[in-house]
């Protein structure tokens, strides 16, 4: 069967050039970077080089990059790290209603431990209002954490402006850029961020490795204590192969960003156009402030999981904000936050394109979707022809 992967926001295939860089560190290059002999120095150098490459790609210096086990850990480290370091200065955090669970569950954890959290609402396109944000600031505010682009609906936030406000009020600013590093041009100084989360497996790197950019001078508590790795900011023997692959992935993504985006965006427009012929649908997210690879659409009268299963039966990999995919009762908090009713939100579909996708695949998916949506509507008690 034809296999079409349209879920790049969930994870990406490992680029063969990335795998090629990793392989020696999973075979003959065995050293522990903390060891002083040749094997160890080789591993140490590999990590130092990777750090340098990644720092260069986002306008940071090498010492500002902390390697972690992924985007989730980076978000936790950023949020809990600031909370630990600055809890005596204040205990108020500002975030948005549409953050990733790694952010939301971290701030909820802090809420249980005496912190106050403001969850900024978003408009119907998923945009945070910068004025709301500024109004939410109090003397107690120690951290603002707002994602760069949303992983479900693809909306890109005005990070630069938010960063300016944070700077003006002398508040640490963290942004979860898991969906944007490699995809959008990123310079941490232009964006005015103090902390930036990103993850390898969203940009054609391996799963289980990520980084946190930590601006020089920003105080951060430690989440994982132990050996002196990552200049004591994150203990544990380094995932050398993963880090090497991560750097290669970031490097390639940045080098090929323009071409890839152009291609992917064309495919996305083709997909938009194809889907528009299906009646009773609604596109979610901003059309202008939008990730180049993201389409998020709700089909009325049908439920997302059964849509996904039908797509899967046709070899198509996609994602939904339906409650049933996650085993919860409520559909995606993001779709609810942009004002969708539960009914509509249950029928959502996210298609996220990647560099290896083709126009034929787009046409195939549109064709199959038309059939499937019709079939499911025909068996839906909500649909009347």
């Amino acid at each position: 069967m034809k296999q079409v992967y349209f879920d790049h926001a969930a994870t990406t295939p490992v680029d063969p050039r990335v795998f090629a860089e990793m392989k020696p560190y999973l075979t003959e290059k065995l050293g522990n970077p903390s060891s002083i002999y040749a094997y160890g120095r080789e591993a140490r150098k590999a990590i130092d080089d990777a750090r340098e490459i990644i720092a260069n790609c986002i306008g940071a210096t090498a010492q500002e990059i902390v390697f972690t086990s992924g985007g989730t850990e980076s978000d936790n480290l950023a949020i809990k790290g600031v909370a630990l370091a600055l809890k005596d200065k204040g205990r108020h955090i500002i975030t948005s209603a549409i953050e990733h669970h790694a952010v939301l569950d971290s701030v909820k954890f802090l809420e249980k431990h005496g912190f106050k959290v403001t969850y900024l609402p978003v408009d119907s396109e998923g945009m945070v209002d910068v004025k709301d944000l500024e109004n939410a600031i109090t003397d107690e505010t120690i951290l603002i954490t707002i994602m760069h682009a949303n992983n479900e609906i693809g909306t890109i936030q005005p990070i630069k402006e938010i960063g300016e406000i944070a700077k003006k009020h002398n508040i640490v600013f963290h942004s979860d850029a898991v969906q944007t590093v490699g995809v959008l041009p990123i310079d941490v100084n232009e964006l005015n961020v103090d902390l930036l989360t990103f993850s390898a497996h969203k940009l054609y790197g391996p799963k289980g490795v990520g980084a946190l950019y930590v601006r020089k001078g920003v105080r951060l508590g430690t989440l994982i204590h132990g050996g002196g790795q990552e200049r004591k900011r994150r203990a544990g023997t380094e995932n050398v192969a993963g880090i090497v692959g991560f750097a290669k992935a970031v490097e390639l993504a940045v080098a090929e960003q323009k071409e890839v985006n152009q291609k992917v965006q064309e495919l996305r427009e083709r997909l938009f156009k194809g889907l528009e012929s299906i009646p009773h649908i609604r596109f979610n997210g901003s059309r202008t402030h939008r990730l180049p690879n993201n389409v998020n659409v709700c089909f009325e009268f049908i439920e997302g999981e059964s849509l996904l299963l039908n797509l899967d039966m046709n070899g198509i990999a996609a994602s939904s904000g339906s409650a049933c995919t996650s085993g919860s009762l409520d559909p995606s908090h993001v779709l609810l936050a942009i004002g969708l009713s539960h009914e509509i939100a249950h029928g959502s579909l996210r298609l996220t394109l990647g560099k290896e996708n083709t126009a034929e695949e787009v046409d195939y998916v549109v064709e199959k979707l038309e059939e499937i949506v019709q079939r499911l509507r025909d068996m839906s008690p909500l649909y009347n022809g």
Partner: protein, 125 residues
């Protein structure tokens, strides 16, 4: 995630549709929760001779709807009344724990349809 039986019923759901002159109709769930199931039964001489469903819901919801129509077809009302959510789940070789909620729906819809049939019958008689 789902058993082969579930996927089979999901892929080729039995008895989809409506019965215009149904003896009883049962509807449960609501769109807010992401599951609505509607069942039509046709009863002759105390036997369910036809049953059809329409479902808005996940894979488990569709499969349990389809399965219950198979379980019920040809049964007497008394036999059908004994069909539980557990029986439906078992007939499907089990459902993932997070989906148990959906399997309740089918049995509930059936009982509602039967109740509807009974109330209509008593109206006439």
């Amino acid at each position: 995630m789902y058993s082969e039986k579930v996927m089979d019923h999901f892929q080729r759901p039995r008895n989809v549709g409506e019965i215009p002159d149904a003896s009883g109709i049962g509807e449960v769930g609501n769109a807010r929760c992401g599951d609505i199931m509607k069942l039509w039964i046709k009863v002759e001489d105390n036997v369910i001779v036809d049953i059809k469903f329409k479902t808005f819901g996940c894979g488990a919801a569709i499969a349990t709807s389809s399965m219950i129509t198979e379980l019920v077809m040809g049964k007497t009302i008394e036999e059908a009344e004994k069909i539980t959510d557990k029986a439906v789940a078992e007939a499907l070789d089990g459902l993932p724990p997070v989906k148990m909620h959906c399997s309740n729906l089918a049995a509930d819809a059936l009982q509602k349809a039967i109740a509807d049939y009974k109330s209509k019958k008593s109206d006439i008689s």
